[in-house]
């Protein structure tokens, strides 16, 4: 039970960080400029909890916490809460410092329609790691 409580606390912390994305991204003029071509729905999955991230012209307009019933999204990025926390460290450690580094070793899964993901890769990586400013 102790482990379960710890995991829940970590997941809760990560989810709280991602729920700040609309303000974090909205306050970053450079990221908004670079992301202006990106309009998509994607999911950040924290352990078993999906967060639906709605992006409109580079602006994160909403974060909705799952579970969902047959809700569609273009692509999803899934990792355990502890992994997300490592990625979101202000100065991350070698090996957990980049989404693709996590994907390479199986700590993150990137699935779905990968065309918008790859076509906007830097912007999406910057959106996902925007909570570093809070850690």
């Amino acid at each position: 039970m102790t482990t379960l409580t710890t995991l829940d606390a970590t997941a809760g912390r990560v989810i709280a960080l991602f729920e700040r994305l609309p303000a974090l991204v909205g306050g970053n003029a450079d990221l908004l400029r670079r992301g202006r071509f990106l309009t998509t729905d994607f999911a950040i999955v924290v352990g078993a909890t999906p967060l639906l991230v709605r992006v409109d012209g580079g602006r994160v307009t909403s974060i909705t916490r799952g579970p969902f019933l047959l809700r569609p999204w273009a692509f999803s990025i899934t990792a355990e809460p502890e992994t997300w926390l490592k990625l979101l460290k202000r100065v991350p450690d070698p090996g957990t410092h980049d989404l693709m580094a996590l994907s390479k070793v199986g700590l993150a899964r990137i699935e779905g329609n990968l065309q918008p993901f790859m076509a906007n890769l830097q912007v999406i990586k910057d959106i996902v790691t925007a909570p570093r400013a809070l850690t």
Binding site: P94, H97, D98, M100, K104, L114, A119, Q122, K125
Partner: protein, 283 residues
């Protein structure tokens, strides 16, 4: 404001590589032991501008940096428009030998990064007598791929943007923003399909695991330096390779990633200067 000039001299050389005429852009600075620098896949010789501009290096070394054909200011050869560019072990190796011959370099040192770091292992295995020493930056005989290179050249994804975005995470977060973005700029400038074509050597044709056992560091010293934040050629990849090469010297560089010479020149200098001193001293 009056202009100031760097000591680098850039010229266009006409030479043949694997028997084919090329117009190659070459920069150099300094005098002494020839030090030929090989840039990473999908980039160009600008990555070494800080090495070329370092008086502590150019005092003893003639630093020579060329843009590979299809890269930087070197043009593709005549007829390129009907070919798919794929770098192979054979033509990359021959390219370096041909450049060294064309410039009449006597037993140069070759320092290559990434694909260049892979190539120096092949030079060490096949042509040790030609070189005074070899330096592999982010170097390994093989490493696990981590994305499908088809993404690098297709009409619905901007090639320059995706190339830069993929490699951006291979740099250390401590590296200065100015240097990281300059490094990424070179990726954004690459020709269509060229990064992908370079990775043909890395992914398809250049697995050197069977070959490295024959490397004899008594014939040619081999230095391998890898940044701790490089998740493409990881420190473990380098150590695994070096474990099969008696006498190979490994250094894992703190707060550096896959592009040490360009992402954080000051930090790289701390690691490369002792190596260059050793080579100069003939150790």
């Amino acid at each position: 404001m009056k202009a100031t000039f760097e000591p680098i001299v850039g010229r266009y050389a006409h030479l043949t590589l694997s028997g084919r005429p090329h117009r190659l852009y070459i920069e150099e600075a300094g005098s002494g032991i020839p030090l030929v620098c090989l840039h990473t896949a999908g980039a160009d010789g600008r990555q070494f501008r800080h090495v070329l501009n370092d008086p502590a290096i150019t005092r003893d070394y003639r630093v020579i940096v060329f843009d590979m054909p299809w890269h930087g200011k070197s043009l593709p050869p005549v007829g390129f428009e009907t070919e798919e560019y794929n770098l192979t072990t054979a033509n990359y190796t021959q390219m370096v030998l041909d450049v060294c011959d064309a410039l009449e370099l006597q037993r140069p040192v070759v320092m290559g990064c990434s694909i260049g770091g892979r190539l120096v292992l092949n030079l060490a295995a096949e042509h040790p007598e030609r070189f005074r020493a070899l330096i592999g930056l982010e170097s390994a005989a093989h490493q696990q791929p981590w994305y499908d290179t088809e993404w690098l050249n297709r009409p619905d994804v901007h090639g320059g943007e995706v190339c830069a975005a993929l490699v951006s995470g291979m740099m250390a977060p401590q590296s200065p923003a100015e240097s990281r973005h300059e490094t990424l700029w070179m990726y954004k400038c690459g020709g269509p399909g060229i990064f992908k074509g370079d990775l043909y050597f890395y992914r398809v044709d250049g697995d050197l695991r069977e070959k490295i056992a024959r490397i004899d560091t008594k014939r040619c010293p081999l230095y391998m330096l890898t940044g701790e934040y490089d998740f493409s050629c990881t420190p473990d990849d380098t150590k695994r390779t070096a474990a099969q090469i008696k006498g190979a010297e490994v250094t894992i560089m703190k707060e550096l990633g896959h592009f040490p010479m360009s992402e954080n020149p000051a930090q790289f200098r701390r690691y490369i200067m002792p190596v260059l001193e050793k080579i100069k001293a003939g150790k």
